[in-house]
């Protein structure tokens, strides 16, 4: 085989793998998008275009509660995790090098820990503490797994800062706390925002941990869907619409973050 044909072959194989990867990721999404506008209750037949499932999503009660639960937990957990995670990151960053590395290892354990382990451990802790499972336990759980992501995305920003910023603020009359707020937080805002988005997506996305910490009454969308399928109750296509909306939001968020990053980079280059 000549070098040229070999190169061709590699290119073709590479292109095939790329196509396969994209297909396997995006086919299910495309299917959901299609089903969300399919004017039929059956998942296997196309019976015309409609937006009524989107209207259903907000009009009927079927999914109203799970959606509201999901959003409420996601928003609250994101807020709390973002504040906590930001301060954790700043605190960890201020430690000396060895202790900082140790803390980061501790921080990363929940990230790589299998969700099922996290879910069961939290369940055990909650029952040991005598908590009734429900909204509060789910919220605590979501804050718990959101914080490390915020820490992870704020930390690199902190490392890039001028090490004396905090001291400069102290020097100019700030108390320790206001120096953090005035000199550090605004300069790691992009990291905080990225962390918040990540925590939010993780929360919206979560099934396993919610499943273990929500008890029997309280449901978010994912546990509701699971229960609906489990009881082989045909679930409403409004679920597709919900998924489609989430997907579009995610895409929008990613595009937003990337465009900001590009703008920043352009500014720096100038």
């Amino acid at each position: 085989m000549t070098a040229r044909t070999r190169k061709r072959l590699y290119q073709t194989v590479g292109a095939c793998f790329t196509a396969a990867a994209f297909l396997s990721v995006y086919t299910p999404i495309a299917v959901i998008l299609a089903l969300s506008v399919n004017d039929s209750l059956k998942a296997y037949a196309w019976e015309g275009f409609t937006l009524r499932w989107y209207a259903d999503l907000f009009a009927t009660d079927v999914m109203h509660d799970p959606i509201m639960n999901t959003l409420l937990v996601a928003i609250l957990a994101t807020l709390i995790a973002t504040v906590l995670g930001t301060f954790f990151a700043i605190g960890i960053h201020a430690l000396d090098k060895t202790r900082r590395t140790r803390m980061m290892v501790l921080n990363n354990v929940p990230v790589v820990n299998p969700e099922i382990v996290t879910g069961i451990s939290l369940l055990i802790v909650f029952s040991l503490l005598g908590f009734t499972l429900g909204f509060h336990t789910v919220l605590i759980a979501h804050v718990f797994f959101g914080v490390p992501y915020v820490v992870l995305s704020v930390m690199p920003r902190l490392k890039k800062l001028d090490p004396n910023l905090y001291e400069a603020a102290l020097d100019l009359g700030c108390t320790r706390f206001s120096a953090v707020l005035r000199a550090i937080v605004p300069n790691v805002a992009t990291g905080i925002l990225a962390g918040a988005l990540m925590a939010f997506t993780m929360s919206i996305d979560d099934f396993v941990i919610t499943y273990f910490t929500s008890g029997s009454e309280y449901m978010n969308v994912s546990t509701w869907l699971y229960a609906a399928i489990g009881r082989s109750r045909s679930f409403t296509p409004a679920a597709y619409a919900y998924n489609a909306i989430i997907f579009l939001f995610t895409i929008a968020a990613i595009i937003f973050i990337n465009s900001r990053k590009e703008k920043k980079e352009r500014e720096v280059r100038r």
Partner: protein, 348 residues
């Protein structure tokens, strides 16, 4: 007699078991321009940080206005700092950077505008208020850092190599401006530099440091003309340093010859170091000279020539406005008052 404003006594500081400052004693007078001068890593920044309250000494006390401030936070000290790497706030524009301290102290809005603009004018950055700090050159950023500190009219201003990033011309201009500000605003300046020329031109008092110790404190004239030891003589200006022996008062021997001098108070035959500044040598006819050598090299330095003369295998550096050619046999003479005898020192 000027009033003492800051007193450091018995300061010790180590990082990870390495001594950075040891037995550091220094008093700084009100309205004084004092310069910490020393090679890189000798502890200048650390000393400033201890005065500013960013670092706590392992031992010893820092007193400001007679009050021990070891436990005071930086924001409780009437001190502002101009950091070595500027530490400007990237999220604020030039105006807001300078206004930062005033806003914290809740100064009235109109007053803030007035003072910030006045200060920007002082550092020659008029009209730069709305600019983002990241769009400024290094020198401009440095001047914003200076403005941000002096706008607060602190009692003491700590400056850590504030002119390091400027080109020669701007540096000289800013040296003059800083000195002027210090005089007119009545602020005590504690200035850090490793540029001996800068230290000599600006300071009321120079503190020469090496390896965390103070080697000499004195006026620029003192440290230049009467260096206490070999290190100071070498660090400040160029020097010819000879090992010698003090025969008796007013008589020193070095390079195998005896010279009259003006120093006294040494033990008989005490080993000493002898300093002769390059500009203090004179050429005389070889027949009349104690020291005779051959011109080895000659460099034109603008105001003077730098001539190296080899005498019995040893190189002497001479600064003179007279010129000689390479290979010339020359005699060297030095006035007794320009021979400076120092104790052999232990640290340097």
């Amino acid at each position: 007699m000027a009033k003492t404003l800051i007193t450091l006594s018995g300061i010790e500081k180590s990082f990870d078991g390495v001594k950075v400052l040891s037995d550091f004693n220094l008093s700084i007078d009100e309205n004084e321009f004092i310069t910490l001068l020393g090679p890189s890593g000798c502890g200048k920044t650390t000393c400033l940080r201890i005065i500013g309250g960013f670092e706590t000494p392992d031992a010893g006390t820092v007193a400001i206005d007679g009050r021990i401030v070891n436990d005071l936070e930086p924001n409780q000290r009437q001190i502002n700092t101009c950091f070595q790497r500027y530490a400007l706030f990237p999220h604020l524009d030039v105006f807001e950077n300078v206004a930062f301290g005033l806003r914290i102290r809740k100064v009235e809005k109109a007053e803030i505008v007035r003072r910030v603009e006045e200060t920007l004018r002082l550092v020659k950055l008029e009209g730069y208020g709305p600019r983002a700090v990241s769009t400024l050159s290094g020198g401009q950023q440095q001047r914003v850092a200076i403005a941000r500190a002096i706008v607060n009219r602190p009692k003491v201003l700590l400056l850590d190599e504030p002119l390091g990033a400027l080109d020669l011309k701007l540096r000289q201009e800013m040296q003059y401006e800083l000195k002027e500000m210090q005089r007119t605003l009545g602020i005590t300046f504690v200035y850090v530099t490793h540029d001996q020329e800068e230290a000599l031109t600006m300071s009321d008092k120079i503190v020469v440091m090496n390896q965390g110790r103070i080697l000499q404190v004195g006026t620029p004239e003192d440290v230049y003309n009467e260096p206490k030891n070999r290190f100071v003589a070498n660090f400040i200006g160029e020097s010819n340093i000879f090992e010698g022996v003090m025969r008796e008062d007013y008589l020193v021997s070095f390079c195998g010859r005896e010279f009259k001098c003006v120093d006294r108070g040494f033990a008989a035959d005490e080993p000493v170091d002898v300093v002769i500044r390059p500009e203090d040598f004179d050429f005389v006819p070889p027949s009349k000279a104690k020291i005779v050598g051959v011109v080895d090299s000659l460099v034109f330095r603008g105001v003077h020539y730098e001539i190296n003369v080899i005498v019995e295998g040893r190189e002497y550096t001479i600064h003179t406005t007279k010129t000689r050619s390479i290979g010339d046999r020359v005699g060297l003479a030095v006035d007794p008052s320009l021979i400076h005898v120092m104790k052999r020192d232990v640290h340097a």
